[in-house]
């Protein structure tokens, strides 16, 4: 009886896991519906290349920015006692509880044609919305919490003992950070950067709002997928989607490797 129930529960779980895997299966079968050639053609299309390049560019700017600021935030929250620390933590996590669409909307409200700074920017010929800066701002907003969130619990847990030891041995602030703190948090930092990067490259809602959907100019890969899908170019859409899925799978694999490395089930649900 117990074995039967156990078997049934496991079977049910495996069925659900299979259901969760189906979308992945669909992506690759749809992409390869007309063979390798069609996939390659779709991915080497000039517009696809532009989308890939734009996505890499957005990530290349926003990820390092957030890595630096996230590490700074983790240092002051994880190593010092000061009033308002909990509030600061809440503010850092705020972007996670905001809809992607709103994460894009706020930038339009600031820099769009009818936005607070819109007319001024327009007058000086600076384009933020429907241009690269807008895409970067929206991405930075959405991915800001990742690094700080993966560092702070670890830094709290490790305590300041090793940094204090380094100071008594004569190290200055930078030496302490670079030689003691950074090596101790490197895996968690990498973990945060990994998640930050995956989200930066895969973000859809926030960038959809600020992009303006100008082909070859402001379409990141996820937006390009949408454009192709709406054009009924399923092979094209699913080819780019397959590329994004590969990125997701690689990220997932690295994530599990890092989680094992960090030695606990320190897992971020985002």
């Amino acid at each position: 009886m117990t074995r039967l129930r156990r078997g049934a529960l496991i079977a049910l779980t495996l069925v659900m896991m299979t259901l969760l895997l189906l979308p992945l299966g669909v992506i690759f079968t749809q992409a390869f519906a007309r063979g390798w050639g069609a996939v390659l053609e779709a991915l080497t299309d000039p517009e696809a290349v532009d989308a890939i390049r734009l996505t890499l560019m957005v990530a290349a700017v926003s990820v390092p920015l957030n890595a630096i600021c996230g590490t700074a935030a983790a240092w002051c929250i994880g190593r010092f006692q000061f009033p308002g620390r909990a509030l600061l933590m809440t503010l850092i996590e705020l972007p996670f509880s905001v809809s992607p669409v709103i994460s894009g909307l706020v930038w339009v409200l600031l820099f769009g044609a009818n936005g607070w700074f819109g007319p001024w920017l327009d007058h000086h010929g600076i384009r933020v919305i429907f241009a690269l800066p807008g895409l970067i701002l929206a991405t930075v907003f959405v991915t800001f919490p990742f690094v700080a969130r993966s560092l702070i619990p670890l830094m709290r847990e490790q305590g300041a003992g090793e940094e204090e030891a380094a100071l008594t041995l004569g190290a200055n602030g930078w030496q302490t950070f670079l030689r003691v703190t950074l090596p101790n948090i490197r895996w968690a930092l990498l973990y945060g950067v990994l998640l930050c990067n995956a989200r930066a490259m895969g973000e859809f809602g926030a960038v959809a709002v600020v992009s303006g959907h100008i082909r070859g100019q402001t379409l990141t890969m996820p937006l390009y997928v949408e454009a192709l899908f709406n054009d009924y170019d399923w092979v094209g859409a699913f080819s780019v989607a397959a590329l994004l899925s590969l990125l997701a799978l690689v990220t997932l694999g690295l994530r599990f490797a890092l989680e094992r490395r960090m030695g606990s089930s320190r897992r971020d649900i985002v």
Partner: protein, 342 residues
């Protein structure tokens, strides 16, 4: 070098961690800071090392004020309670750290640093562990690495926070002798924190007893044991028997022990008489003490007496005649130290 602390005060919220603490440590001394947990020992050590800041008071090393000297320039070696070894560095790199972070002008060559680290590890008797990581070695070995790391910067003063706290009893005993020997051989000035009175009394030249952020007494171990300045020190250092008494006209009298009156310089009023178990004498004739039990195993027989409403343990000298259980006997309390109860 010598250390001078004057009237240090520090609060954590409403509680005073250091409450007007003064202390001077001459060159070459091995001083123990002894006190219950929360008495301010660790805080004092951290203040001296420059990791915490006193609100007022002065710290001088060889007459030089440490007020504006940051931790990294004090040249004080600190061995942390849990060692705080750099977990991502090998043992050798841990030891070399203090030399590697020196400004280029003062930094020895890489080869010299390596040689110095190995030399220190050999001195600690753990030369073969140089390439291991902290998590791969035992607690006692970590302790030696932490010590080697602190000594690598040739500190003028060595501070040790509960150096044996995390070790098991046997390792601890061996390390004590070894550490004391090392201190003497290297001509160090050392302060170590402990809550273990035996450790303090066995190892230190002098022991400072702390309570509630101030020093109750600083003395050599024998004087501290023989002449505690107050009831706290008496009771903290070794087994004590405590009896309530009242002082009037320069003599102390006990409530339920007639015929005993002890001359004392203590102020009139309620007072406490304290004795070590072996300082209580058992008189031949009958008296107020009722023999509850007799344990004759071991060199000194241990007697439990009911005296003045409490159970009192007495150690009789070797070879003394044993009383019978149930007897009532007189007691000699003349070696009691009387402290005012206020």
């Amino acid at each position: 070098m010598s250390l001078e602390l004057r009237d240090l005060r520090k609060k954590f919220g409403p509680t005073a961690a250091l409450n007007g603490l003064s202390l001077s440590v001459p060159r070459g001394e091995f001083l123990a800071l002894l006190g219950p947990s929360g008495s301010g020992k660790t805080t004092l050590l951290r203040v001296v090392a420059g990791l915490e800041f006193a609100e007022s008071g002065a710290i001088e090393i060889d007459g030089r004020s440490m007020r504006d000297v940051p931790a990294r320039k004090r040249g004080i070696g600190l061995v942390f309670q849990h060692y705080a070894l750099f977990r991502h560095m090998t043992v050798a790199r841990n030891v070399a750290f203090g030399l590697e972070v020196r400004p280029r002008r003062e930094r020895p060559s890489a080869a010299a640093i390596r040689a110095r680290a190995n030399e220190l590890l050999d001195l600690m008797g753990i030369g073969e562990l140089a390439q291991r990581y902290p998590e791969q070695i035992s607690g006692g070995q970590r302790q030696r690495v932490a010590l080697a790391r602190a000594l690598a910067i040739e500190p003028s003063l060595l501070l040790l926070d509960e150096p044996f706290g995390a070790l098991d009893a046997k390792v601890r005993k061996n390390l004590r002798i070894w550490l004391r020997d090392l201190h003497d051989r290297m001509g160090l000035t050392s302060i170590f924190v402990t809550h273990d009175q035996n450790e303090a009394l066995e190892m230190a030249d002098r022991v400072a007893v702390l309570q509630a952020g101030r020093i109750e007494q600083v003395d050599t171990p024998d004087r501290l044991y023989a002449e505690p300045v107050n009831a706290f020190v008496h009771e903290f250092l070794g087994e004590s028997v405590r009896l309530d008494c009242v002082v009037a006209d320069g003599v102390a009298r006990f409530h339920n022990i007639p015929d005993v009156c002890l001359p004392t310089g203590c102020a009139a009023g309620p007072a406490i008489a304290l004795l070590r178990p072996h300082e209580i004498g058992l008189l031949p004739g009958p008296g107020p003490a009722h023999v509850e039990s007799v344990h004759a195993a071991g060199p000194m027989p241990r007697i439990r007496l009911a005296l003045a409403g409490r159970i009192v343990e007495v150690l009789l000298p070797e070879g003394a005649a044993l009383p019978m259980v149930g007897q009532s006997r007189g007691v000699d309390l003349s070696r009691a130290r009387i402290y005012s109860a206020a």
